[in-house]
């Protein structure tokens, strides 16, 4: 029942137009509304042996955000009959509410498509990838299960920063690349220009590009044919021993871990005993199948195929992404695996009310099961109580995670100012002894060691790629210089588009660089970045004080040159975010004992409703009681009362105005 219920739930989610508003569990147990509903009960299992390696193609679609990746995936699913054709197929593979609301893909998904081409039945495994720079590690992970990619470029916008980054990921993985120019139905489409850009930057002949409109379905069949013709089948053999790469995993409340696997050799079926090369633990396979994109059980999976398996793994950590699975007593050489995702942004997370600690803990545990890229460390603070320090891939990732906590688990939390992982080279013998090493990573401003015990501070850097129409170059260069960036490269990709490369300190781009770039280029410039190691930096810790008491949420590590401006800005914004009170409030930014900025919030001299007779009192009492209630939820710093959302609002707003 549970299994059928869950599948029905997914079906319902897939079929619901617009954002899926209901949490998954709400649907569990409801009968499916008819139509295609796969379940492991009572349904004929597919025989996958009819798809030998030669008729299999494993591929991804890669693209800059909004260039039409998910729409193309929808069309491919429709053409191959994987999903029925309706107007409501919008981002079918984006299953999370937050993905549909924001129009971004956060989590890679896969789907197996069946397609007859020139009399041969082909099995095409499409692995969808996220489109935002924060999630690029997911892209490289997905590519490891593929032999080729469809590189989608918008016919209007042309090559963008992420197009470049994704191209190189695919190129370095030696995958076949099928360039596709999408949105040719748009009024300002200029496919010729885009073809030339592709030729210049990627060295792909112009005649290899396929011009399509995924929205209208134009030439989409051609893409499928090219996939079959150009992408080689996987190089592997069913006769070999089992060798399965775990390239993703999800957690299911009823069945435990569902691992997405690509078979590089052998075959696998229910009842097989398998071993994880990473943990050496042994499991018995209880179900295998393919994703269409719902889970559809099969008798077996064979070499070259992509699907899922369930084998009694209770925790996501048991299905380590990049792990290799093999048959018990038939060990194989493990596949290379992946670097684990590296958190770029850290923030403290605390329950609004300490009595909510355990609920938040369990919500975090469940959410990180399906998002293993979030790192979680327990943390506590005098002011905020017990909580955690979380590491995210970027600010969007942090927002998405927070939004999922709210939407899927109904949790509201206090988030502290995000910080990047700084390092300090220690000079104090005492500290070196305490830490057991002379270089430490600082992910919490509260742990920032004093200058006196440090020989050097280090900050993380990234190599950023910006693609922009040339008229914005002046402004963009000024923006980058303001962010302490060093130019590394500048290249015209056609007559009016430029690609810039800059080395940035990570903390300068993490909060709002992307927004600033978008707003000064009217949305035309695009941005992507990759890790570029550490560099020495003159760092200090800046505190924000309210009437002399530090606000822990707002402590930040910052470059010395930026402290004055940042401190002033924070004080000004806090002045707007904190309501007037009965006493004057000094809002100060301080480095050590030195005050570097100050704003004063004046006291109320009068705050009373003038007229209060007969009719007013009921309404008046309601208002007063609401105020009394909200007082209980206020964060108290000294005797200053601050609304819970004030700090987040202060941190969120754009700085480059």
């Amino acid at each position: 029942m549970a299994l059928a219920g869950r599948t029905a739930a997914w079906w319902a989610l897939l079929r619901s137009p617009g954002p899926a508003a209901a949490p998954l569990l709400l649907w569990a147990g409801l009968p499916a509304a008819g139509g295609r509903c796969y379940s492991s009960h009572g349904k004929e299992k597919l025989d996958m042996s009819t798809y030998p390696v030669e008729s299999i193609r494993n591929f991804s679609i890669i693209a800059h955000v909004d260039h039409g990746k998910s729409t193309l995936a929808d069309r491919l699913l429709e053409i191959t009959g994987t999903i029925s054709k309706t107007d409501r197929n919008k981002q079918v593979l984006d299953k999370l509410q937050v993905e549909r609301e924001r129009g971004i893909t956060v989590k890679a998904q896969s789907a197996s498509l069946f397609y007859n081409h020139e009399g041969t039945n082909y099995l095409l495994n499409l692995i969808d990838t996220p489109g935002h720079v924060d999630f690029s590690y997911e892209v490289s992970r997905s590519l490891s299960a593929c032999q080729g990619v469809i590189l989608v470029v918008d016919a209007n916008e042309g090559i963008q920063a992420q197009t470049v980054a994704n191209f190189y990921l695919a190129f370095e993985a030696q995958l076949s690349i099928i360039p596709v120019i999408n949105k040719i139905d748009l009024k300002n489409a200029d496919p010729e220009r885009v073809e030339k850009q592709i030729e210049k930057l990627f060295d792909i002949p112009t005649d290899e590009c396929i011009r399509i409109s995924a929205k209208q379905g134009t030439n989409v069949e051609k893409v499928l044919q090219k996939v079959i013709e150009k992408i080689p089948p996987p190089q592997c053999n069913t006769a070999d021993p089992l060798k399965a790469l775990v390239f993703d995993s999800t957690f299911d409340h009823y069945r435990g871990v569902v691992a997405n696997v690509a078979l590089f050799g052998g075959e696998i079926a229910k009842g097989n005993k398998i071993v994880s090369a990473y943990t050496k633990k042994r499991y018995e396979v209880s179900e295998v199948g393919i994703l269409t994109p719902n889970e559809q059980p099969t008798h077996k999976l064979y070499a070259g195929q992509v699907g899922y398996l369930i084998a009694g793994m209770k925790e996501v950590t048991e299905a380590q992404i990049g792990d290799t699975l093999f048959l018990y007593k038939q060990p194989v050489e493990p596949l290379p695996g992946f670097k684990s995702a590296k958190p770029m942004v850290f923030a403290g997370m605390y329950p609004v009310d300490q009595t909510e600690y355990n609920n938040l803990k369990s919500a975090l545990e469940r959410l990180t099961l399906n998002d293993s890229s979030v790192t979680v460390h327990r943390d506590s603070s005098l002011a905020l109580g017990a909580g955690w320090r979380l590491g995210f891939l970027g600010l969007l990732h942090m927002e998405v995670f927070n939004q999922r906590l709210e939407q899927e688990y109904n949790m509201s939390v206090i988030l502290t100012a995000p910080t990047v992982p700084y390092k300090a080279v220690l000079s104090s013998a005492k500290l070196i002894k305490e830490y057991g090493k002379d270089e430490i990573t600082i992910i919490n401003p509260a742990q920032f060691p004093d200058k006196l015990s440090v020989s050097e501070y280090l900050e993380p850097t990234v190599l950023g790629t910006i693609v922009t129409p040339h008229e914005y170059i002046g402004k963009i260069i000024a923006l980058c210089q303001g962010r302490r960036a060093v130019q590394k490269d500048m290249l015209y990709i056609d007559e009016n588009r430029v690609m810039l490369k800059y080395l940035f300190p990570l903390n300068e781009i993490v909060l709002d660089f992307y927004d600033a770039l978008k707003s000064l280029s009217s949305g035309y410039a695009s941005f992507d970045y990759e890790d570029a190691g550490y560099q020495a930096a003159d760092l200090i810790k800046m505190d924000i004080l309210l009437n002399g008491n530090p606000v822990e949420e707002l402590s930040t590590i910052i470059h010395n040159d930026k402290a004055h401006a940042a401190g002033k800005l924070l004080c000004e914004r806090l002045k707007e975010a904190i309501p007037r009170q009965l006493f004057e409030i000094a809002i100060q930014a301080a480095v050590g004992k030195k005050i570097i900025a100050r704003e004063t919030l004046k006291a109320y001299r009068k705050n009373v409703v003038a007229k209060c007779y007969g009719g007013d009192i009921t309404r008046r009492m309601k208002l007063l009681k609401r105020q009394a209630e909200s007082k209980k939820l206020m964060r108290k710093i000294g005797n200053v009362e601050v609304p819970r959302d004030a700090f987040i609002r202060v941190l969120k707003r754009e700085t480059d105005k």
Binding site: Y604, R605, K606, M621, A628
Partner: protein, 440 residues
Amino acid sequence: QSLCPQWPYCRKRCSYCNFNTYVVPAVDEAAVRDCLVREARTLLRLSQVHRWVHEGLMAGYGAHQCPLATPHPLPHSITSVFFGGGTPSLASPRTIAAVLDAVAGAAHLPARAEVTLEANPSSTDTSRLTGFRAAGVNRLSIGVQVRGALPPQPCSPLRPHGHPLPPQSLDDAELRLLGREHTAAEAREAVEAARGLFPGRTSIDLMFGLPGQSRDAWAQGLEAALGLCDDHISLYQLTLERGTALAAQVRGGTLPSPPQDLLADMYQTARAVLVAAGFRHYEISNFARKGALSNHNLSYWRADQYIGVGPGAHGRFVPQGEGSCSREARVQTLEPVAWMREVQSQGHGTRSRVVLSPLEQLEELLTLGLRTDEGVTHERWGQFSPQLSLQAVFGVPGEARALQEQGWLLLDGSGLRCTWAGLAVLDSLLPDLLCQLQRH
């Protein structure tokens, strides 16, 4: 116990008003009068214990009735009547008389009971006022308005060099801004006529914080009002209520909204000026000299019982007539035609009645009582909360003590009250006090 009959009609809607008022071409006054009379009788009967209860006729209604601890003086005394609205001075003296007769018939209305009529300067010529006095009205509250908003007109009698202003400086431009239908001259005449007929018992309303009003203009207006007024002044800061014409203009940017600090200055200026002129600042918005306090409103701020009669009227009383001993919050049907239909069919137009919990009653007592200079006395508190004293709730460590230390509140032998400074920021004190109260 007091009674507040509502006359819901106005001749014109003021630009700042969001009260339950109606502007209709013709009022069927006889019908409205009959309904006011009938509802007053019904509710008065409901609010008091009748002789026959004691005689045991209701014994069959069971033991759930509250014990009658003290024998009530029967029938109840109505200590004050306040005709509000709307514009009750638009009603004829005959209607006022009919309601007062009904009160006297259903309850005891002592000769010294305070009977106030809210009046509008354009409907208060001497002959009407004489009529109201003959009907039983003995106190008048007049809504005038003083100069201050908008720059002085070229013909304005404003004199340079700080010469004292002539008393006719009630300002027509300002009255137009507020949508009042009377002129400054009419307002002046009305106050003078009222003082002649109700000496020592005429109150005027003043408003400050009008869009565009300057500090100096307000101070001058205040001086002018002092030259005109009797012994009671109500002082209101204009609040921009949602849905009013004035609020829409301010939101739309055609009128400026006065800054908070300026409003604070105006309020403090007025307090200082009025106190210097011998007035007692006895409630946040009310000033009186020679003991001319509004007894009706004072009993409201002391959380005494009051009965609302008429469309949209609010009341707070214990319907002892039906054997209850719980204080209720009551609201009469808003819309006059619907209200009349209900009164005609069932004797009253009570639209909602909610029993107030002991905590809610204390919350109201605190919210209202702290508006006055006497605050909430131990005695008054004890009537609502015989078990838990004022001292036990607010004399212990907590918000109230912190507010005392900061100089906003006082808790002493007479009770809990605001300091001079605290009175001006009461709305910032109340949420804290309610939090502390709720913990008990």
